[in-house]
Symmetry: C2
Subunit: 232 residues, 2 copies
């Protein structure tokens, strides 16, 4: 495996504040692995053998309930750390990660984690902040599911997706990876039918534009008003 260029990870927050030589050393221990669209990077309940940084592509992380329902935990964008089960003291992955498009990730063996944090103390601090932000996201989601009706939850979810993975185009903000109504339903705790109805209504008002596995936000401002509770 060829060496991995430091510039690839210059903007990866997990490495923030580390010296260039330190980053080089970390990269030397990593493998770069390709995950074709549709394949799993890791699976729920599986032993947490590795942790990862996504270099390219997008992943869908979801949990499977005992009765077979899926709940989307989040989508992973390039530059993000994921699969840190071991770091938070778990033996197995709590969810499954699937590539929604062809993706590439840096892979470290989980066994290296204790040594890496021992030699690079900044790593634990950065990871703590990353996990902390995810905790906040999860709490935000709990609050929304507890207090908002479906339409507002969908609006908030789309705005968040646009922020994390939006690509500005002349007609609006495109969500930069294939995403289905079912996905949105599994992020908001509703059904694909309800999502479809809501998006159809919004489309006829010029708020969003759809397509197969595509969502574009044409009027973020109006959508935000909806999300924040404006009735009409």
């Amino acid at each position: 495996m060829a060496g991995i260029d430091r510039s690839l990870v210059a903007d990866v927050p997990i490495f923030a504040g580390l010296a260039p030589e330190q980053i080089d050393k970390l990269l030397q221990e990593a493998q770069s692995v390709r995950y074709p669209k549709g394949t799993n990077v890791f699976q729920q309940e599986e032993e947490a053998h590795s942790f990862f940084v996504l270099l390219h592509g997008h992943l869908r992380v979801f949990k499977l309930t005992p009765d077979g329902q899926q709940v989307v935990v989040r989508f992973v964008a390039p530059g993000e750390l994921f699969g840190v089960a071991m770091a938070i003291g778990r033996k197995t992955y709590p969810a499954t990660a699937t590539a929604v498009v062809d993706s590439i990730a840096l892979v470290w063996p989980s066994t290296a984690w204790p040594r890496l944090v021992a030699t690079h103390p900044g790593l634990a601090v950065n990871t703590l902040q990353t996990v902390g932000r995810r905790l906040e996201d999860a709490h935000t989601r709990v609050v929304e599911m507890s207090t908002e009706e479906v339409e507002r939850r969908i609006a908030h979810t789309l705005l968040r997706l646009a922020q994390q993975a939006g690509r500005k185009i002349e007609a609006g903000v495109q969500i930069d990876f294939p995403i289905t109504r079912q996905d949105v339903a599994e992020m908001t705790g509703t059904t694909l039918h309800t999502v479809s109805r809501v998006l159809s209504a919004w489309e006829s008002q010029g708020l969003v534009a759809g397509g197969r596995q595509r969502i574009m936000i044409r009027d973020p401002h109006k959508l935000l008003l909806l999300a924040e509770g404006a009735h009409d």
Copy 2:
């Protein structure tokens, strides 16, 4: 302020694996503060001046929505770390913590955190695991709210409360602090009316026993069956 006895925190997970002298040093920097029932330890949006370990009592941590609704994030039990906003990179507290009974906490100034983790590397690792466990809890809650109807959510919540703060008594497991139907409603994303109806039904079946701000689980096994989806 008198010195704080090391034995008080012997079982506090956040200090696990630290040498006794290290723990002593950490304790020297802490203050022990009393919070009478009903008072706030910290408030949402307030500057994150301190972080804490609860020594005695119970706290109710909740988020306030813009329109005034409350959502209970969790209850803090003795031995737990809380208020770590600064450690996860926040300037302000994301929620409010209120003492539900007279409580005592160890208090460190947030400014000491960077120095403490630098001198005690185990601290960051332990905190990472604590925050990670909380992230899992939050995700569990999201999954439950997405896929389970109210009755099962309430059952799961009671079982979790019993595990975290249950006191075994001859007739069952008492939840060890005052908790209202409203609290349970705010943990499960429902209304106090629905919680009251469900608990009344369960009480008549001998599953639980109630009282003003009291919940006791008389038949944990049957409750678990309900939580796991047994229909009747």
